[in-house]
Symmetry: C2
Subunit: 536 residues, 2 copies
């Protein structure tokens, strides 16, 4: 797929051709079917969210406690012993998040197989005032898909079918519980691509992606889910089935209600089906990995890439040097750029329809960037294995950032010029508090690193820690949120609010916006049973 271009690029200082590494697995390769967690993280017990945050959250006494008669009702609906999970050990997977930061106390997990079953479950819960958490692949990063107290978990894992695919229009209709990678693999066979990609694709669900308005790695090219989702099916808090599984690219007949569910994190209902427009799969991919000596140069490379690579630019990711040191330690591998340690790295992906054209455009662009002194070194993947390997140095960062034992994750939008300033500011605060050392295990913080989707103005600030502690949290919060607010950024670019950011929404939204949101929540869910203690 990627041709040999060693000569051309070597001449310009680009060392073409990484050694053919074994492909590094995408992070969190957990199979929901088996419920086995493959994790490199701390084996310490995860503390209960309700205890860690006892000063911030109390159980809402409006909600009924689960009784035996309720479980009997759910058995009668699901008619499947594997659909009703009550064993403490079996529930643990659903109660905990993958970062091992949040842990709920649910006593019941339901795994319905049909939308009709979910409707019956939710109607019953609403009538009885039983609180509920919808859960997809449980790969969220803000504690949005785990209970806080004894909410019933409704897992979509057993609703994982493709309903239909139209090869002329490229419209996929599927159950919400379909795993993203399975969706994309099926599309690949037909010459199409899912308009979203992210590291957790092996576990996350399409419905969860929509519920959290996931952004991911290729938003730059394919845009947001608000544009590509054509229809949804959802169960509302009173059990009503909202069926709007359109397969039309354009439909201006009334309010676009489905938009409300995109990014509502299970607080307005349970998404059960998704209809989405999938683009033609590009026929050629190129990936270049570049070393850059300043953040200013990173910005210039981006502006140039958008102008010169234009319609074939499909990803522009940046990583700081610290993130790559951490990733090298995690992967136990040498970095693909071996000529030294650089403060910044950039991964550029192009995708298009004609190999020679794309090669020529990318090479021309890179030559110019090197001539202009913006790029210090770099490589271009020469085959699919190398391409995947280069991507792994970007995609493995989230997992690498947990190798100390945990990670505080901040996913923020900022104006491009201010983007990296937040990492510098957070690092300085942590150093000032004498909490950081990359090698000294007596310090609670390993490192504050920054990486993300420059093309979307989206920074991931990850503070890799050896333990979660109030001391670290108090240094970081509300400092980080205040810093973001001062630059008119967003405290959540793509991860959502969940439990982590519920109390901080005021840093990104004004009072009227918040009031309107609360009104809407009350309008649809007057009993507040859907994913309580979170979001808004």
């Amino acid at each position: 797929m990627i041709g040999a271009r060693r000569g051309l690029l070597c001449a310009k200082g680009l060392v073409a051709g990484v050694s053919a590494r074994t492909q590094v697995p995408r992070f969190f390769k957990n199979s929901p079917k088996l419920n086995i967690r493959v994790s490199a993280y701390s084996t310490k017990a995860v503390p209960l969210t309700a205890e860690t945050y006892s000063d911030k959250v109390k159980r809402d006494e409006r909600f009924k406690q689960l009784e035996e008669s309720d479980i009997e009702f759910f058995h009668s609906v699901l008619q499947d012993p594997h659909g009703v999970i009550t064993g403490e050990e079996d529930i643990e997977f659903y109660n905990e998040d993958w970062m091992r930061k949040y842990k709920g106390q649910s006593k019941l997990v339901l795994r319905p197989k049909t939308t009709e079953q979910i409707s019956q479950i939710i109607k019953y819960c609403n009538d009885k005032k039983l609180a509920v958490v919808p859960q997809g692949g449980n790969t969220g990063l803000v504690g949005g898909s785990n209970p806080i107290f004894d909410e019933i978990i409704i897992s979509l894992a057993s609703m994982n079918k493709i309903r239909s695919f139209d090869e002329v229009s490229g419209i996929l209709k599927c159950d919400a519980g379909l795993i993203l990678e399975n969706a994309d693999n099926a599309l690949a066979e037909k010459g199409y691509i899912f308009p979203l990609d992210l590291g957790a694709k092996g576990s996350c669900h399409v419905g969860g992606n929509v519920a959290t308005n996931a952004g991911g790695l290729r938003l730059l090219k394919y845009g947001s889910l608000h544009g590509s989702v054509l229809g949804l099916e959802a169960v509302l808090p009173d059990g009503t089935i909202y069926n709007s599984m359109n397969s039309l690219r354009k439909d201006n007949t009334g309010y676009d209600l489905k938009q409300l569910f995109i990014g509502s994190e299970g607080t307005l209902g349970v998404i059960t089906g998704v209809s989405i427009l999938c683009p033609s799969r590009p026929q050629v991919f190129n990936v270049a990995f570049l070393a850059v000596s300043s953040y200013e140069a990173v910005q210039k490379v981006f502006v140039g890439a958008r102008r010169e690579l234009s319609e074939i630019l499909s990803a522009f990711e940046f990583m700081d040097g610290k993130s790559q040191l951490l990733t090298a330690r995690h992967l136990k591998a040498d970095h693909p750029i071996e000529s030294g340690e650089y403060p910044f790295y950039v991964l550029i992906e192009t995708s298009g329809s004609t190999k020679e054209h794309d090669d020529e455009k990318l090479e021309g662009f890179l030559e110019k960037a090197m001539e202009d002194g913006l790029v210090d070194d770099g490589i271009i993947a020469q085959d699919e294995t190398q391409l995947q390997s280069l991507w792994s140095w970007r995609e493995s960062i989230p997992e690498a950032s947990t190798i100390g034992g945990g990670v505080y994750k901040y996913d923020v939008s900022l104006p491009l010029s201010d983007l990296y300033g937040l990492v510098d500011a957070a690092s300085a605060k942590l150093k000032e508090a004498n909490l950081v050392d990359f090698d000294d295990d007596s310090k609670p913080v390993v490192e504050a690193i920054g990486y993300g989707h420059i093309g979307d103005g989206n920074l991931h600030l990850n503070v890799a820690v050896r333990e979660y502690s109030k001391e670290i949290e108090n240094v970081l919060e509300p400092f980080v949120y205040e810093w973001i607010q001062s630059k008119k950024g967003s405290i959540s670019a793509e991860h959502g609010l969940g439990f982590q950011k519920k109390n901080y929404i005021g840093y990104s939204k004004n009072d009227i916006e918040i009031k309107l949101m609360k009104d809407l929540k009350n309008h649809y869910d007057p009993n507040g049973i859907m994913n309580p203690y979170k979001y808004i």
Copy 2:
């Protein structure tokens, strides 16, 4: 911009190079500043909507009649004699739609200059129960922006400024009343493009585009406004100013309320400001105009173009032969393809960053399409003038379809394979009723023509008439809507519901969807003052 490729294409049967025609003006070149209507249409008086449809609509007696004291209040708010229009003749422009099909009886037009003024106006109207119609460029096609009875018209025409443009991110913030073409011209100077284009660009407002979720000519490439609009400012029915003028590509902090306003046609509030992500302006455009002998071949050419031209394909429009006969009569010009009359024509636009690459891709694609017998004849524009001229044969159809005196417009989404079937079916019905003759002025219908955005599954069925009549309407409705429903299409792809389609929404939406919409309308506008008698 377009190089000479005569040799190559002539050899394959493509006659390159139309004679350099004077550029045909885009339709409805009305300057809102002057309020002069340049129109080729009938000069017959437009009948009052309330009279034409007296069987369907009655004035809502909840609404107060306008009094002198109200006008005094509005004068005190606007502090500008030109901002308060009460003269019958001056109001006519605002009362009538451009198709001369709908006419309201408003006695008052307000032209506020600030969002704060609109807030005061709306709050007053809500308190007094005075009904209101927000109006942008008044280029709508379903009677959505004109009053039915005595609603007060709030024109956004005096709020027409660009608020800011960020050259790094491409984010434009503007007043709702900015004319689309003015926005695009300003963007062109900075190397950007507005992610929407449509025939009425010289008159329509950005705010109106958002309020109607306009689709237009380049949705295929740039996606829907649900994806590209980043923020909105709007005045709600109680006068609250909703300020969510974000300039972030990603922001997952709460419900995406702005989405509700996109396509709500002024029924939930008045959009006063828009923040929108604009792509880099392509550096090279190509336009090919092709003659195709069957609708089946049109579909095949489309599927091939999407696959082969992929990332550079920016428009794929089709027109039937009848639409081109009508357009030739209207433009008083020879058709660019002079080798004969064909049943179908296709306009393909590519846009990209490298001329040679795009030329090569397009030529390769066209050669193959001709070899495969899918394309009978065609031309490629050789310069900007020719490019505009070819576009005019597509963009002039809406105006051409009114040369008889009027037009019944149906803007529908259908599965690709069924798309043209609707034109055949409608033509057959009209012929059966003996209503049609292209040349005989004694027949009320000139012709039923079809054209539209194949790439979006969006057909425009236009029934060109010599007069509006119940007889024609009864032949067409509900027949057309029933036909669409039977194919699971949408009765409004991009024009919206307005007055025309209010009663037909049930053909495209189910009872639960409609109930949820009505609930939402009541939630935000309990007095129903915003754009009544329409939409839902």
